[in-house]
Protein backbone atom coordinates (compact mmCIF):
# COMPACT_ATOMS: atom_id res chain seq x y z
CA UNK A 1 0.00 0.00 0.00
CA UNK A 2 1.57 3.33 -1.08
CA UNK A 3 1.58 6.00 1.60
CA UNK A 4 2.64 9.63 1.50
CA UNK A 5 5.67 10.30 3.65
CA UNK A 6 6.29 13.70 5.24
CA UNK A 7 9.68 14.70 6.63
CA UNK A 8 10.39 17.73 8.80
CA UNK A 9 13.44 19.86 7.93
CA UNK A 10 15.03 22.01 10.62
CA UNK A 11 15.55 25.47 9.09
CA UNK A 12 17.11 27.24 12.06
CA UNK A 13 20.20 29.22 10.97
CA UNK A 14 23.35 27.09 10.94
CA UNK A 15 26.24 28.08 8.65
CA UNK A 16 27.77 24.60 8.40
CA UNK A 17 24.47 22.90 7.50
CA UNK A 18 23.68 25.63 4.99
CA UNK A 19 27.09 25.19 3.35
CA UNK A 20 26.61 21.41 3.22
CA UNK A 21 23.13 21.88 1.75
CA UNK A 22 24.43 24.26 -0.90
CA UNK A 23 26.85 21.53 -1.98
CA UNK A 24 23.87 19.32 -2.93
CA UNK A 25 22.43 21.91 -5.35
CA UNK A 26 22.96 21.81 -9.10
CA UNK A 27 23.90 24.83 -11.23
CA UNK A 28 20.31 25.98 -11.83
CA UNK A 29 19.48 25.71 -8.15
CA UNK A 30 22.55 27.68 -7.16
CA UNK A 31 21.47 30.41 -9.61
CA UNK A 32 17.98 30.33 -8.06
CA UNK A 33 19.51 30.48 -4.58
CA UNK A 34 21.50 33.57 -5.59
CA UNK A 35 18.43 35.39 -6.92
CA UNK A 36 16.72 35.46 -3.54
CA UNK A 37 16.93 39.02 -2.24
CA UNK A 38 17.38 38.18 1.44
CA UNK A 39 19.24 35.64 3.57
CA UNK A 40 16.28 33.86 5.28
CA UNK A 41 14.56 32.65 2.08
CA UNK A 42 17.97 31.70 0.66
CA UNK A 43 18.64 29.52 3.71
CA UNK A 44 15.21 27.87 3.58
CA UNK A 45 15.54 27.14 -0.13
CA UNK A 46 18.98 25.51 0.19
CA UNK A 47 18.11 23.40 3.22
CA UNK A 48 14.76 22.22 1.85
CA UNK A 49 16.08 21.52 -1.64
CA UNK A 50 19.03 19.53 -0.26
CA UNK A 51 16.67 17.52 1.97
CA UNK A 52 14.42 16.88 -1.03
CA UNK A 53 17.39 15.70 -3.10
CA UNK A 54 18.56 13.37 -0.32
CA UNK A 55 15.07 11.88 -0.02
CA UNK A 56 14.71 11.45 -3.78
CA UNK A 57 18.13 9.75 -3.97
CA UNK A 58 16.94 7.20 -1.40
CA UNK A 59 13.46 6.71 -2.85
CA UNK A 60 14.65 6.44 -6.45
CA UNK A 61 17.95 4.66 -5.78
CA UNK A 62 19.75 7.40 -7.70
CA UNK A 63 22.86 9.55 -7.27
CA UNK A 64 22.34 13.23 -6.55
CA UNK A 65 24.06 14.18 -9.84
CA UNK A 66 21.44 12.19 -11.79
CA UNK A 67 18.53 14.18 -10.37
CA UNK A 68 17.16 17.28 -12.12
CA UNK A 69 13.87 19.17 -12.03
CA UNK A 70 11.44 20.44 -14.64
CA UNK A 71 8.52 22.76 -13.92
CA UNK A 72 4.81 22.49 -14.71
CA UNK A 73 2.56 25.42 -15.71
CA UNK A 74 2.23 27.07 -12.28
CA UNK A 75 5.76 26.25 -11.22
CA UNK A 76 5.29 22.88 -9.52
CA UNK A 77 8.56 20.96 -9.91
CA UNK A 78 8.84 17.40 -11.20
CA UNK A 79 11.82 15.13 -10.78
CA UNK A 80 13.88 13.54 -13.50
CA UNK A 81 16.51 10.84 -13.11
CA UNK A 82 19.17 10.75 -15.79
CA UNK A 83 16.90 12.83 -18.05
CA UNK A 84 13.78 10.66 -17.65
CA UNK A 85 10.64 11.57 -15.64
CA UNK A 86 10.77 9.90 -12.24
CA UNK A 87 7.75 7.92 -11.02
CA UNK A 88 7.33 9.87 -7.80
CA UNK A 89 5.40 12.90 -6.67
CA UNK A 90 6.64 15.30 -4.06
CA UNK A 91 6.06 18.73 -2.65
CA UNK A 92 7.96 21.11 -0.37
CA UNK A 93 6.85 23.89 1.97
CA UNK A 94 8.62 26.08 4.48
CA UNK A 95 7.78 28.75 6.99
CA UNK A 96 10.06 30.33 9.57
CA UNK A 97 12.29 27.60 10.96
CA UNK A 98 10.22 24.69 9.69
CA UNK A 99 10.31 22.90 6.37
CA UNK A 100 8.26 19.90 5.27
CA UNK A 101 9.01 17.59 2.35
CA UNK A 102 6.23 15.22 1.29
CA UNK A 103 6.60 12.44 -1.25
CA UNK A 104 4.60 9.50 -2.51
CA UNK A 105 5.30 6.78 -5.08
CA UNK A 106 1.80 7.18 -6.57
CA UNK A 107 -0.82 9.94 -6.56
CA UNK A 108 -0.24 13.69 -6.51
CA UNK A 109 0.81 15.17 -3.19
CA UNK A 110 0.81 18.69 -1.72
CA UNK A 111 2.06 19.95 1.61
CA UNK A 112 1.91 23.26 3.44
CA UNK A 113 3.40 24.52 6.69
CA UNK A 114 2.82 27.92 8.27
CA UNK A 115 4.09 29.37 11.51
CA UNK A 116 0.96 30.92 13.02
CA UNK A 117 1.09 34.71 13.23
CA UNK A 118 -1.45 36.97 14.92
CA UNK A 119 -0.22 39.96 12.90
CA UNK A 120 -2.64 39.33 10.03
CA UNK A 121 -6.28 40.40 9.84
CA UNK A 122 -7.90 36.99 10.25
CA UNK A 123 -11.42 38.35 9.62
CA UNK A 124 -10.34 39.95 6.34
CA UNK A 125 -8.36 36.90 5.25
CA UNK A 126 -11.32 34.64 6.06
CA UNK A 127 -13.55 36.72 3.81
CA UNK A 128 -11.03 36.19 1.01
CA UNK A 129 -10.07 32.53 1.39
CA UNK A 130 -12.94 30.78 3.21
CA UNK A 131 -16.38 29.57 2.24
CA UNK A 132 -19.53 30.48 4.21
CA UNK A 133 -19.54 27.43 6.52
CA UNK A 134 -15.84 27.86 7.26
CA UNK A 135 -16.43 31.54 8.11
CA UNK A 136 -19.29 30.53 10.42
CA UNK A 137 -17.01 28.07 12.26
CA UNK A 138 -14.33 30.76 12.56
CA UNK A 139 -16.86 33.26 13.89
CA UNK A 140 -17.88 30.75 16.56
CA UNK A 141 -14.28 30.03 17.63
CA UNK A 142 -12.68 32.04 20.43
CA UNK A 143 -9.19 33.28 21.31
CA UNK A 144 -6.28 31.13 20.16
CA UNK A 145 -8.75 28.55 18.87
CA UNK A 146 -9.75 30.98 16.13
CA UNK A 147 -6.16 31.56 15.01
CA UNK A 148 -5.47 27.82 15.07
CA UNK A 149 -8.63 27.04 13.08
CA UNK A 150 -7.81 29.68 10.49
CA UNK A 151 -4.32 28.27 9.94
CA UNK A 152 -5.68 24.71 9.87
CA UNK A 153 -8.06 25.70 7.06
CA UNK A 154 -5.35 27.65 5.26
CA UNK A 155 -2.80 24.84 5.29
CA UNK A 156 -5.34 22.19 4.23
CA UNK A 157 -6.52 24.37 1.35
CA UNK A 158 -3.02 25.25 0.26
CA UNK A 159 -1.90 21.61 0.46
CA UNK A 160 -4.79 20.73 -1.87
CA UNK A 161 -4.10 23.41 -4.49
CA UNK A 162 -0.37 22.68 -4.34
CA UNK A 163 -1.14 19.00 -4.92
CA UNK A 164 -3.15 19.79 -8.04
CA UNK A 165 -0.36 22.10 -9.25
CA UNK A 166 -2.70 25.12 -9.50
CA UNK A 167 -1.36 26.81 -6.37
CA UNK A 168 -2.89 30.17 -5.53
CA UNK A 169 -4.06 30.67 -9.11
CA UNK A 170 -7.04 28.65 -7.77
CA UNK A 171 -9.64 30.62 -5.79
CA UNK A 172 -9.55 28.67 -2.52
CA UNK A 173 -12.73 30.35 -1.21
CA UNK A 174 -14.70 28.24 -3.71
CA UNK A 175 -14.25 24.98 -1.84
CA UNK A 176 -14.57 24.06 1.82
CA UNK A 177 -12.62 21.73 4.10
CA UNK A 178 -14.77 18.82 5.40
CA UNK A 179 -16.82 19.74 8.48
CA UNK A 180 -15.31 16.99 10.66
CA UNK A 181 -11.80 18.35 10.04
CA UNK A 182 -12.95 21.91 10.76
CA UNK A 183 -14.06 20.55 14.14
CA UNK A 184 -10.78 18.86 14.97
CA UNK A 185 -10.67 15.47 13.23
CA UNK A 186 -7.05 15.05 12.04
CA UNK A 187 -7.83 13.17 8.81
CA UNK A 188 -10.50 13.22 6.14
CA UNK A 189 -11.24 12.83 2.46
CA UNK A 190 -12.10 15.60 0.04
CA UNK A 191 -13.36 16.05 -3.53
CA UNK A 192 -13.17 19.30 -5.49
CA UNK A 193 -16.70 20.30 -6.63
CA UNK A 194 -15.42 20.63 -10.21
CA UNK A 195 -13.60 17.24 -10.15
CA UNK A 196 -15.76 14.87 -8.05
CA UNK A 197 -14.12 11.73 -9.45
CA UNK A 198 -10.84 12.39 -7.66
CA UNK A 199 -10.54 11.61 -3.95
CA UNK A 200 -7.98 13.42 -1.82
CA UNK A 201 -6.76 12.10 1.49
CA UNK A 202 -6.18 15.00 3.93
CA UNK A 203 -4.10 14.96 7.08
CA UNK A 204 -3.78 17.83 9.53
CA UNK A 205 -0.13 17.75 10.71
CA UNK A 206 -0.30 20.85 12.91
CA UNK A 207 1.30 20.96 16.33
CA UNK A 208 2.14 23.61 18.93
CA UNK A 209 4.97 25.04 16.79
CA UNK A 210 3.22 25.31 13.43
CA UNK A 211 0.13 24.59 11.35
CA UNK A 212 0.66 22.04 8.57
CA UNK A 213 -1.25 19.72 6.29
CA UNK A 214 -0.70 17.20 3.53
CA UNK A 215 -3.07 16.28 0.70
CA UNK A 216 -2.56 13.01 -1.18
CA UNK A 217 -4.52 11.85 -4.21
CA UNK A 218 -6.07 8.42 -3.74
CA UNK A 219 -5.19 6.12 -6.60
CA UNK A 220 -5.75 2.39 -6.93
CA UNK A 221 -3.07 1.20 -4.54
CA UNK A 222 -2.88 4.28 -2.30
CA UNK A 223 -6.56 4.48 -1.30
CA UNK A 224 -6.93 5.21 2.41
CA UNK A 225 -3.19 4.84 2.88
CA UNK A 226 -1.97 6.47 6.08
CA UNK A 227 0.44 9.38 6.08
CA UNK A 228 3.71 8.45 7.75
CA UNK A 229 5.77 11.09 9.50
CA UNK A 230 9.18 9.66 10.41
Amino acid sequence: MAAATVVHVDLTPCASREAAAWGWLDQDERARWKRFLYAPPRRRYALCRAALRALLCGALDADNEQIAFTFAEHGKPRAQVAGRPAAISFNVSHSGNHGLVAWAPRGRVGVDVEERSARYDIDGLSETVCGPRERADLAAARGDGRLHLFYTLWTLKEALVKATGAGLSCDVSRFEIPAAMRRGKPTGTFRFPQAPDVNWRLHNLGNAAYAAAVAHEEVADSAAAPVTTP
Binding site: R35, F36, L37, Y38, A39, P40, P41, R42, R44, Y45, H74, S95, D112, E114, S117, R119, Y120, D121, G124, L125, T128, V129, W154, E158, G167, L168, S169, C170, D171, V172, S173
Partner: protein, 81 residues
Protein backbone atom coordinates in the same frame (compact mmCIF):
# COMPACT_ATOMS: atom_id res chain seq x y z
CA UNK B 1 -1.52 63.31 -4.68
CA UNK B 2 0.94 60.46 -4.14
CA UNK B 3 1.66 58.25 -7.14
CA UNK B 4 0.61 54.60 -7.28
CA UNK B 5 4.24 53.65 -6.72
CA UNK B 6 4.55 55.83 -3.62
CA UNK B 7 1.30 54.51 -2.15
CA UNK B 8 2.42 50.93 -2.80
CA UNK B 9 5.82 51.56 -1.18
CA UNK B 10 4.01 52.81 1.91
CA UNK B 11 1.80 49.70 1.97
CA UNK B 12 4.84 47.46 1.61
CA UNK B 13 6.55 49.11 4.58
CA UNK B 14 3.39 48.99 6.68
CA UNK B 15 1.89 45.64 5.76
CA UNK B 16 4.18 43.34 3.79
CA UNK B 17 6.12 41.08 6.09
CA UNK B 18 9.34 40.32 4.19
CA UNK B 19 11.82 38.68 6.51
CA UNK B 20 15.30 40.10 5.99
CA UNK B 21 14.15 43.39 4.42
CA UNK B 22 14.65 46.62 6.36
CA UNK B 23 11.61 48.92 6.45
CA UNK B 24 12.11 51.75 3.94
CA UNK B 25 14.81 49.84 2.03
CA UNK B 26 14.96 50.34 -1.72
CA UNK B 27 12.27 48.44 -3.59
CA UNK B 28 13.18 47.01 -6.97
CA UNK B 29 9.89 47.26 -8.88
CA UNK B 30 10.95 44.61 -11.38
CA UNK B 31 12.24 42.04 -8.89
CA UNK B 32 10.00 38.96 -8.93
CA UNK B 33 7.88 38.61 -5.77
CA UNK B 34 9.08 35.02 -5.66
CA UNK B 35 12.63 36.28 -5.04
CA UNK B 36 11.54 38.00 -1.81
CA UNK B 37 10.52 34.76 -0.18
CA UNK B 38 7.12 36.18 0.80
CA UNK B 39 4.82 33.61 2.39
CA UNK B 40 1.45 32.85 0.83
CA UNK B 41 -0.39 34.27 3.86
CA UNK B 42 1.65 37.49 3.63
CA UNK B 43 1.00 37.74 -0.12
CA UNK B 44 -2.78 37.35 0.20
CA UNK B 45 -2.87 39.69 3.19
CA UNK B 46 -0.94 42.31 1.24
CA UNK B 47 -3.28 41.89 -1.73
CA UNK B 48 -6.21 42.63 0.57
CA UNK B 49 -4.54 45.84 1.78
CA UNK B 50 -3.89 46.89 -1.81
CA UNK B 51 -7.54 46.23 -2.73
CA UNK B 52 -8.68 48.33 0.23
CA UNK B 53 -6.29 51.22 -0.45
CA UNK B 54 -7.02 51.41 -4.17
CA UNK B 55 -10.70 50.41 -3.99
CA UNK B 56 -10.33 47.56 -6.46
CA UNK B 57 -11.82 44.07 -6.35
CA UNK B 58 -9.19 41.32 -6.07
CA UNK B 59 -9.43 37.68 -5.09
CA UNK B 60 -6.88 35.19 -3.88
CA UNK B 61 -6.23 33.94 -7.41
CA UNK B 62 -4.98 37.40 -8.38
CA UNK B 63 -1.84 36.86 -6.30
CA UNK B 64 -0.50 34.69 -9.08
CA UNK B 65 -1.30 37.30 -11.75
CA UNK B 66 1.34 39.81 -10.69
CA UNK B 67 4.93 38.62 -10.96
CA UNK B 68 6.39 41.86 -9.58
CA UNK B 69 5.53 45.29 -8.17
CA UNK B 70 5.63 46.98 -11.59
CA UNK B 71 2.93 44.67 -12.94
CA UNK B 72 0.77 45.50 -9.93
CA UNK B 73 1.33 49.24 -10.49
CA UNK B 74 0.31 48.87 -14.14
CA UNK B 75 -2.88 47.02 -13.13
CA UNK B 76 -3.79 49.63 -10.50
CA UNK B 77 -3.14 52.55 -12.85
CA UNK B 78 -5.63 51.01 -15.29
CA UNK B 79 -8.25 49.76 -12.81
CA UNK B 80 -8.17 51.71 -9.54
CA UNK B 81 -11.24 53.77 -8.67
Amino acid sequence: MASTEERLRELVDKHLNVEGRQSGATLDLNAPFADSGISSVAAVSFMMEVAKEFDVKMNVGDCAQFPNMQSLIDFLDSNAG
